[in-house]
Amino acid sequence: MWGRRLAYLAVLAAGGLFFIFFRGYLSYLVFLFLLILPVLSFVWLLLSFRFAGVRAQASKAAVEKKEPFSFMIRAKSSRLFPIPCLRVTIEISNALGGETERELLSFPFFAGEAVMEQPCRSACCGKLSCTVRRARGLDFLRLFSLPVRVKESAAVFVLPSRTPAPAAVTENCLLPDFAELSLPTAPGNDPSDPFDVRSYQPGDPLSRIHWKLSAKQGEWIVREGGSSAERSIRFLVECGSQLLENDCIMETFSRLAFLLVEHGIPAQVFWPEDAELGSQGFDGEEEASEILEVLLSRSVPPAFPVLELFREEHWKKCAHLIYITPKCSPERLTGLLEAGNAERVTVLLCGTKQEQEISHDVVIPVRPDRLDDCLAEVEL
């Protein structure tokens, strides 16, 4: 804009010199016209900017990695006094990796609605948000600008692969006590029955409906997860600061989670959330997807002792603790193994550089380029 202002000043100076040195009426007319033009332009801008608005939209809610999608920037303008120029600054950022891309879009003179589509694709998973940072209406000569209201932001989830991991799933994945707690007299006498059942409530996912019991009871009965502490498998997901690492972590978790879903094995997930740990259980695809979306939306947390926090608050007997992390020191691992109460512990080091790997039975390095091979070593 400053360039345009300087150019206009130069033109005005030329007009002024023309007025001074050319004695005719023409020079007066031209000089006055040059003085009035910005006024006319500004008045038009004043009449038009109030009716302008900008919002962002996404073409899809969720996509897979490398699948094309687009963000649509929709600008609105009055038909009678369209805004001469709309300059929009948008920011597209990935919550998982922290990368950000800024763009400056310029909509020319238009009436009604104008849409500018930004095609994108992401090689890594995460939650990509398109935020309109700034929208300004400019006059015809680009001398003046006024703010234009901004309405919405848009987001797209780039999901990791849902292909179940080629990990081995054994019958011992359940706690003995859990199996003992199965009620022989429960309807259906299903050894895999959960701890408790209850009546269906609106909002319960369909995957929780105990169909046998429901058929027998004549009403919908849902399986109750029971307390999170009694889940047999627990995931502790800790993200890093690098996008590649986090992508590998998400990919690993996703594939393991959907493996469990495939086998109908419930699990619980813990993740760092501000100064404490968040947690949610899943035993169906929908719940797993929800957890995945939550994990993808988490920004990189500040460094605090996730493992220690987990041990203090949530360390209860479980069959298998799967710790997915980008880094783990030998001391932490030793502490984890000595003080832990899990039947089994598996540490998946995702995206770690080779020189930082720890050699231990429970530690499995997971490389993004050999994900299948690495996950095949996992035994659930």
């Binding site: 600008a75 009678l80 800024r102 763009e103 400056l104 879009l105 104008a114």
Partner: protein, 822 residues
């Protein structure tokens, strides 16, 4: 468009160039606005041009032509046959020019004559006109209309490209403003309605944006030309309304320019002049300005030859340039123009510069002086004393009152010849009546050397007393007695009358001296009263001697301190100076004594240089030979040079041997400064002559033969080759631009364009590649669009389509395809 990827850190986000999916306005609305803008631009330009120079063209017809061209070209751009339309228009124009070449030529000549007439009326210059065939007004109008109409076609083509393809204000301004500039240069105002149309046209293009843009990091992307919404009409209407309001609110007839603006203009001009003077020191002696600043250093000489002079007789020759009449303490300037109004009336058309020429070639022999300007300023035409060539004989020169001859920097001749009279100094009586008697005697005896009248004594008193001044006034202002006047034949009779008028003018205007300076000069040079008077020539000699011996010649004269008078400082304190100092002092001293004098700059050539060169030889004059001297007015004779610089050669003034002081022909101090680039003006006679060797070829006169037929044929062939080469270059450029466009645009748009381009070949009989159609459909309709690989594939398929077309088509269709589609 390539996928963008950052290189500094790993980034998983890949983004293509954004695309505008919808927005803008209606296609027809955009076209109508474009058509309207094109009409405004084309009609406004034509109308402005015709009205500026009062061309006898049929304006309504031209406006109708502008409307037709606008509509045609709009249709061409709408239905994508603009290229072929322009080609057809060009062909039609060529046919039209060929068929009506006679009328077009006459129209061109009439137009040029109208333009030169307008220029002549609005400037102090004369412009040549062309002879046209005799024709009636109607025929003239027809010819002019045809010519202007023919000119409008290429302008329309250029403007349509600027409006529809680029929608660029800069391009449109470049194509239209020169027609306006041609008039404005000479303060000619075009029709105001036409100007209003042009203003709305330019403002409309400046206001209406053309493309959507995106900036990502350092990369910029832009879309194609966007359609305009219907509100653009409202905007154009508002602009037209504003212009109309201005025209009606303050009509031209009632417009009065504020005085403050004029004052501002004068002060800006003065400031500009001062800045130019400070920058261009070397212009001090070339007399190319209306003012000579005496404070400038004279170290701007390069030693280059600025003039070549030829004289038919080997006599001392002084070529006069700038003449200064008004002294302001640090510079000389000319008399204000309005001072000459009465004089010019009384002289009834005779230039004061020619008054000596009236003495007649019967009395005095004529010398032919030729000057060739090889490096001097073209604004001064250096002329000798006693110029006999009249303004009618030398139309290229502007005879600036009684000062000098001015040329135009653009049109001044580089070589010119003038006649001057070899006026005998024996006629410097200093008394008009005596001079008239002497002339009469010469006429009666037909022998200029036969006059035997004695020189008067005691006419001129040097002390500046009141008595002296009164006597001087009588000498200058008293006319010749009527009986003597009646006895003089023509043209001497007229000359005497006019000389008296001019002498009175000179006496009234060339005696101004600041009082302080006058006292200083008289005290310095005439401390006591002078009881005796002297003849005129003796006065001149004495002044020359006194001034030249009063100080030392030096090129490194000290700068006059700020606030002090230039001459006073030289006379009372520094006593060092060069020709400028001595000349200025001599002028002021003469004026103090009551003798009208003025300051002159130019070049002085000695008789020996010219004699050695011979009547056919040329003398080279270098810029370091620039010189300044004084000139005093002798009543009954005219201006005579006064050489007050030590060592400066003077025109020999042999008069009364008993009373006259010997002419100081020996230099008091020879300048020892080498004749290098840093030297200022050197005394003429002590200066080694730059001999003009016979190897210097004078310009051969151009033989007025037409070029031989062989040359004509060669020129034609060359012209054709150049034209073909230009065409090829244009096509190659077009192809290159198209390729760049394919790469620059987003992939989907690029593939769509390629498909459209391929359709052009299909129209010529080629077959469309199915895969290309598939890609185009994918680009247009699929959600994901095409990838980079598919874009490259589409490009190669396009080449294949045209390749097949080229193989199948006959030669003439192939050429047409190449011309049309590249």
């Amino acid at each position: 468009m390539k996928w963008k990827k950052r290189h500094e850190t790993y980034s998983a986000l890949f983004m293509q160039a954004p695309e505008v999916r919808q927005g803008g306005g209606h296609g027809w609305g955009s076209l109508l606005i474009g058509c309207l803008l094109l009409f405004l631009g084309l009609a406004g330009t034509a109308w402005a041009f015709v009205s500026s120079f009062a061309l006898p063209a049929h304006l309504p017809l031209l406006l109708a032509l502008a409307a037709c061209l606008s509509l045609l070209l709009t249709a061409g751009y709408r239905w994508r046959f603009a290229d072929i339309l322009l080609f057809l228009l060009s062909a039609a124009l060529c046919l039209f020019l060929w068929r009506f070449q006679g009328e077009i030529v006459q129209g061109f000549l009439c137009t040029v004559n109208c333009i030169t007439k307008a220029y002549t009326e609005n400037s102090p210059f004369e412009f040549p006109t062309f002879l046209v065939e005799e024709m009636t007004d109607l025929e003239r109008q027809r010819c002019c209309t045809m010519f202007v109409g023919a000119c409008m076609v290429p302008v329309a083509g250029a403007l349509s490209w600027a409006v529809f393809r680029r929608r660029s204000f800069v391009c449109a301004f470049v194509f239209t403003f020169p027609f306006l500039l041609a008039a404005l240069m000479f303060t000619i105002t075009p029709n105001l309605c036409a100007m209003a149309m042009l203003l709305v046209f330019w403002a409309g293009l400046a206001f209406l944006p053309s493309r959507a843009r995106c900036c990502v990091g350092k990369q910029n992307f832009s879309s194609g030309i966007q359609r305009l919404p219907a509100a653009s009409f409202l905007m154009l209407t508002l602009m037209a309304g504003v212009v109309s309001l201005l025209l009606f609110a303050i009509p031209a007839e009632e417009y009065q320019r504020p005085e403050q603006v004029d004052d501002l203009r004068v002060s800006l001009e003065t400031t500009g002049q001062r800045l130019v003077e400070q920058v261009t020191n070397s212009l001090l002696f070339s007399g190319s300005r209306d003012q000579a600043n005496l404070e400038n250093q004279t170290d701007g000489f390069s030693g280059k030859t600025v003039l070549e002079v030829q004289s038919s007789r080997g006599t001392d020759l002084r070529l006069r340039g700038f003449t200064g009449s008004v002294y302001n303490g640090s510079s000389w300037s000319q008399l204000p123009q309005d001072e000459y109004a009465l004089l010019e009336e009384s002289l009834a058309g005779t230039s004061p510069l020619n008054l000596s020429g009236f003495l007649g070639k019967d009395l005095f022999s004529s010398i032919r002086v030729s000057v060739r300007n090889v490096g001097a300023s073209r604004e001064i035409l250096y002329a000798p004393y006693a110029l006999a060539t009249t303004p009618e004989e030398f139309p290229e020169a502007d005879y600036v009152h009684d000062s000098f001859l001015r040329g135009d920097w653009l049109t001044a001749p580089l070589e010119y010849s003038m006649d001057c009279l070899d006026v005998q100094s024996s006629f410097l009586y200093g008394d008009r009546e005596l001079a008239a008697e002497a002339y009469l005697q010469c006429v009666q005896t037909n022998d200029p050397s036969s006059q035997e009248l004695p020189f008067p004594e005691g006419l001129y008193y040097l002390d500046g007393s009141e008595y002296a001044r009164e006597e001087m006034r009588k000498l200058y202002c008293t006319p010749v007695p009527d009986d003597l006047l009646a006895a003089l034949p023509e043209p001497l009779h007229t000359w005497m009358e006019e000389e008296t008028e001019y002498s009175t003018f000179v006496y009234d205007h060339y005696l101004d001296v600041p009082e302080d300076l006058k006292e200083t000069l008289l005290d310095s040079f005439y401390p006591g009263a002078q009881s005796e008077g002297l003849p005129f020539d003796n006065v001149i000699s004495q002044v020359e001697l006194m001034v030249s011996t009063s100080a030392t010649y030096s090129l490194d004269a000290p700068q006059t301190p700020q606030g002090e008078d230039f001459i006073e400082y030289f006379v009372t304190e520094s006593h060092e100076g060069y020709c400028v100092h001595f000349a200025s002092t001599a002028v002021m001293l003469l004026r103090s004594m009551g003798i009208p004098a003025r300051y002159v700059e130019g070049f002085a050539l000695s008789w020996d240089e010219l004699e050695e060169a011979g009547p056919e030889g040329w003398v080279e004059v270098k810029d370091s030979r620039s010189h300044a001297w004084a000139e005093a007015y002798c009543p009954g004779f005219g201006w005579v040079p006064v050489e007050a610089t030590p060592g400066g050669g003077t025109v020999p003034m042999v008069s009364n041997e008993t009373e006259s002081e010997p002419v100081s022909s020996e230099p008091e101090e020879l300048s020892s400064a080498p004749e290098e680039a840093s030297s200022a003006s050197q005394p003429v006679s002590s200066h080694p002559v730059q001999e003009n060797s016979s190897s210097l070829m004078s310009y051969a006169e151009q033989e007025e033969e037409g070029a031989s037929p062989v040359w004509q044929v060669l020129l034609c062939v060359l012209g054709v080759i150049l034209f073909c080469a230009l065409l090829v270059l244009l096509f190659l450029l077009r192809r290159s631009l198209r390729e760049k466009r394919y790469l620059r645009l987003p992939a989907n748009r690029s593939v769509a364009l390629m498909y459209r381009h391929a359709l052009g070949a299909v129209r010529f009989g080629s077959e469309m590649e199915p895969r290309l159609r598939e890609l185009a459909e994918k680009a247009k309709f699929s959600r994901n669009g095409v990838t980079e690989e598919e874009r490259r594939e589409a490009r190669s398929l396009l080449t294949q389509v045209y390749g097949k077309a080229a193989q199948k088509l006959p030669l003439w269709k192939r050429v047409l395809l190449f011309l049309w589609k590249g």
